[in-house]
């Protein structure tokens, strides 16, 4: 058959595409369980990380079941939704829905009698999505710990939000100002506060201003959704602005 004829060209392409497509579909399907497991385990690992329990990704399941005593899905008014499983809520999809239909997962951890509220975060960095979890102590003001992750921030700059030193700077920070209004935590360029934990601000990463602003915005926006629940269900008075 003539290699340059149209018929041959079509035949060649159709055959090639069929082979390539089935090979890719086969690998994607066969690797999918392993990939999904990585994602689930990582989620548990991240949630546990906010309350100071560092586990290997592969062994996150057992401590997760032990310490996370409640998983609640909240609606935008702060009411519990019984029809939604909090762990399977995908914030990426959720935030695209109408406000009335959104559910916000809340994890309650009990570690040797101390109660923590863990809130998932999701926002935008410089290049792509950033996300994370922040754990609040039972005064619903002091941060116990935070973890952050990202899809495509610049290695060495924005990607540093995943690093321990950055996450550690959130420990014991307050999300309310001195008069009890919700302000969140500001990732501040040229931060001069040192170890001051009451100023609602942490030091930004040099060269990663936009990623830092994304973190600030994500903390404020996501925590906002939980204020009604905290007002109704904790004996702490949280004023929202």
């Amino acid at each position: 058959m003539d290699r340059n004829s149209n018929a041959y060209t079509f035949l060649f392409v159709i055959l090639l595409i069929a082979i390539v497509a089935s090979a890719l579909a086969l690998t994607a399907t066969s690797l999918q369980p392993a990939q999904a497991e990585n994602v689930t385990n990582e989620k548990m690992q991240n949630i546990l990380g906010t309350v100071g329990i560092e586990v290997a990704r592969d062994s996150a399941q057992i401590p997760f079941d032990k310490y996370i005593v409640e998983r609640i899905a909240l609606d935008s008014k702060g009411q519990e939704r019984s029809d939604v499983d909090a762990f399977s809520v995908d914030l990426k999809k959720e935030l695209k829905k109408d406000v009335e239909e959104q559910s916000f997962p809340l994890y309650v951890a009990d570690i040797d009698g101390a109660k923590y509220y863990i809130v998932p975060l999701r926002g935008k960095g410089l290049w792509d999505a950033i996300w994370g979890y922040v754990a609040l102590k039972d005064d619903v003001n002091t941060i116990k710990g935070a973890v952050f992750d990202h899809k495509g921030e610049t290695p060495g700059l924005g990607a540093e939000i995943t690093q321990m030193w950055f996450k550690k700077s959130f420990d014991d920070e307050k999300i309310l100002d001195s008069s009890g209004n919700f302000v969140g935590v500001d990732v501040q360029k040229g931060y001069q506060g040192g170890d001051n934990k009451a100023d609602n601000a942490v030091d930004a990463i040099s060269g990663a201003t936009i990623t830092g602003d994304g973190v600030t915005k994500m903390i404020t926006e996501r925590l906002q959704n939980y204020l009604p629940y905290f007002q109704n269900n904790t004996n702490v008075k949280v004023a929202s602005n």
């Binding site: 060649f12 090639l16 990939q35």
Partner: protein, 233 residues
């Protein structure tokens, strides 16, 4: 006479795969040249100036640079092999598209495997694994070599060129991580006493322009050592 000598099975296979008359061992002189040339006088980055984009993007730290190198090596070796196998049946009018399909398929495979078995690294490399598809070295070698050479030779050419790419990538990443973070592979190298004495990490090394300048310096060193690379006029 060589023609009268009975061929061993291994030689027979090489002859079939390499598509040439001459017989040589698996790593004979010519085949070795395919592997070593791209490391020095025919380096894809410093001499052919291909694949610069990813050399800038992922050389901030050593570890992603190493994994990226391995991923590129796998893609190049196998795409070169597959295109070489198909070289006599690809309609020449659509050969670029065929090359793209093969390269894209291999890159997706690598990405999927990394996501399942090397999750942390795949997260670090993020989009850059996908961008191997657009790496000029891959398509460049397919066009320049695999379309006209035997399967085994093309395989070696892929490995060789990827190694040349890897060599520069790792060299650049070495300097950027060392001078930018004072670390190598995440381990602190510059002692604390230096910092106390006033030494500080150079934040400029973390930005892309410094990767370009580092590559430029490597080219300078290479050209001053190897006179054959200097253009006549």
């Amino acid at each position: 006479m060589a023609e009268n000598k009975k061929l061993t099975k291994k030689e027979d296979l090489i002859l079939f795969l390499s598509d040439t008359d001459e017989r040589e061992g698996l790593l004979g002189k010519k085949n070795r040249k395919l592997l070593t040339d791209p490391l020095t006088d025919n380096n894809p980055i410093t001499v052919q100036v291909l694949g610069i984009c990813s050399a800038l993007a992922i050389t901030v730290k050593l570890e992603p640079a190493i994994v990226m190198s391995l991923a590129v090596m796998a893609v190049m070796a196998f795409s070169n092999m597959i295109i070489s196998m198909l070289r006599n049946s690809i309609p020449s009018r659509i050969r670029i598209i065929v090359q793209l399909v093969i390269v894209a398929a291999l890159v997706i495979l690598v990405d999927q495997v990394l996501r399942a078995y090397a999750y942390d690294v795949s997260k670090q490399l993020s989009v850059f694994v996908g961008l191997i598809i657009t790496n000029c070295i891959v398509m460049g070698r397919l066009e320049a070599f695999a379309l006209g050479n035997g399967v085994y030779k093309s395989f070696l050419d892929g490995i060789g060129n990827a190694a040349g790419y890897a060599f520069i990538l790792i060299l650049v990443a070495f300097f950027r991580e060392l001078l930018g973070f004072g670390k190598l592979l995440g381990v602190q190298i510059i002692p604390d006493s230096w910092y106390e004495a006033g030494y500080s990490n150079n934040g400029l090394m973390l930005l892309s322009p410094m990767a370009l300048i580092t590559v430029g310096l490597i080219i300078w060193v290479q050209r001053s050592r190897s006179r054959t690379l200097i253009e006549q006029n």
